[in-house]
Amino acid sequence: MIKPSNIEIDREKGNFHYPTSSYAFDAGIGLSAEVIKYISEVKNEENWVLDHRLKALSIFEKKPMPTHWASKDLENIDFDVIRYYLAQGQQPSRTWDEVPDDIKETFERLGIPEQERKFLAGVEAQFDSEAAYSRMKEDLEKEGVIFVGPTEGLKDHPEIFRKWFGKVIPSSDNKFSALNSAVFSGGSFIYVPPGVKLAQPLQAYFRINAENFGQFERTLIIADEGSEITYMEGCTAPKFETSTLHSAVVELVALKGSKIQYITVQNWSNNVYNLVTKRAIAEENAEVRWIDCNIGSKLTMKYPGVVLKGRKSRGEVLSIALANDGQHQDTGAKMIHSASETSSNVIAKSISIGNGRSSYRGLVQIPGHLKNCKNNTECDALLINSESQTDTYPAIAVKGDDNSVQHEASVSKVSAEQIFYMQQRGLSEAEAMSMYVNGFVNDLIREFPMEYSVELKRLIDLEMEGSVG
């Protein structure tokens, strides 16, 4: 029999914590205009950025919690006890040797420098509010690729970034995009010039280290005409007694004929509220693909979207969510078709274990005046025991005879006979479970870059080990 989990999941990889020497910059506890002015001052920002932040704060204060359509659990977030900005005052180092020891040790343990050597074109490693390390291969710099944080991006390259900053996702999009727009710090601002195709991915790693801390990174990627980029982000945090907030905003702009692939493998500890807004604009013939793997966290709400603005643009979301005991993964995808001959594809797989809960929330919009648009949506849920819950809210609004949508959904369970069969071949119950789960997501994982599929498989194994007993 498959037993419900009663063991706390040991998410070993991220669950460690080196005491950090005092933070040179600390915005204190709670949120106010003063806190925002402090952050802006530390960053030495221009006035327009501060104004943008303050406007966002007032939007945040006015907007209600979106509890009416998602989880009541959101009410448990206490914005008054969170620390909004913590930094050691470091400039991002260009070599790992220059990174302060305690921070370096953290990233070494997470395997970041090693991955950088092996297969990355550039890495940025964020520790609480600011990047501790940032480096990109020199030849990319020569080709004009920009890979910096938002402060630097807005200050040094306003002609590139200001035009799009907050345009794909306005502050007023939702309560958490407003919060992020008010207090954002860290993240990646990337520009890829016309025709430049990055052979290797750029990666950012987001590490929460301090307790009661909110991480609000901001990412903006602009792929100019005919360029190509793959960006990957990873996230972890140690297990704290109190909950932690991670609320990012990620905007992608894929100009004519460009391709952006954005990959997330998050492995948050069980008490992180992960409330992230991600959206892309795809111009003519451009292609945007979100690969989103959500493991861990207490509550994740994330619905990567693509606005298909130019003719023949394509959008894709491939997502995997694993909700273990006590977790809620509320994830999905939004495909907004606003030009003819656009196509979108959504494949979402969720795994619910114990009393973990997975929800799929989708939105597909194709107005009637468009022609030859296509959407395919597929949602598969796997339940690992009867307590698990899964819901699907597809919300498909498609008009016009020339457009087509296809929607499939399935719910399956691991049967005791399947586990027995695998055990009869020598696999332990936990191994059998992870093999089953890996089989369930296999066709999706095949689409991922190798290094990430290996990492994901490892995370699934760890998760299953802890949940069978």
């Binding site: 027995f420 695998m422 055990q423 009869q424 071949r425 332990s428 089953y436």
Partner: protein, 251 residues
Amino acid sequence: MNSIEIKNLNVKIEDQSILKDLCLTIPKGEVHAIMGPNGSGKSTLSKVLAGHPDYEVISGSAKMDETELLGLEPDEISREGLFLAFQYPVEVPGVSIANFIRAALQARLPKGDSIKAVDYYKKLYSKMESLGIDKTFTSRSMNEGFSGGEKKRCEILQMSMLEPKYCILDETDSGLDIDALRVVSEGVNSMKNSGRGILVITHYQRLLEYIVPDKVHVMWDGKIVRTGDKNLAIELEKNGYDWIKNEAVVA
């Protein structure tokens, strides 16, 4: 002691007695067959030996060499060396045959050791060839969409890759066409050796022309009611089970 030795095994499921004081010994180096009417408890016996959690063992013992099987987890029993070819093999979606068997072999290695991919595939392909399984099957999901006969071949493939000490084949011949029956039987025969005990469960004497048993047992209502040589199977084929039933009632 080089055998599976089952003594006075009593097993229930949902308060219903299925195996009743069953005794049976399968020594290494021998092939035994069990025949018996539908519902007499043949598959139950094989699953209980393999550690299926649904069955309630009331009393008795089942030793494999020195190891008591009753009470062990199914995967422990497997790694101890018992292989069960299922009457109804189960689908494992998304898990390829190659990865599945590889994981099963890996589970038998000490922690830290790993299988050499080249050697593994060499062996896998040669076994597949002798069982008449197309190479393309390595990437297909375990049993998913397989025909009845393909599933049974795949069971024997796993068996020959894992090289267990004892094999139980539950109606592996059902659903096989004539050629497949020969190929699968050859596969089983090639595994016969002095270090391995084999138990085949079947309804048809024909299989026993290919895999010649040292002993044939008849199971009736949860126990072995008669044991003989291969001629017993011929007799059963001719006369059915009624005469045994009468004897069993008399006894």
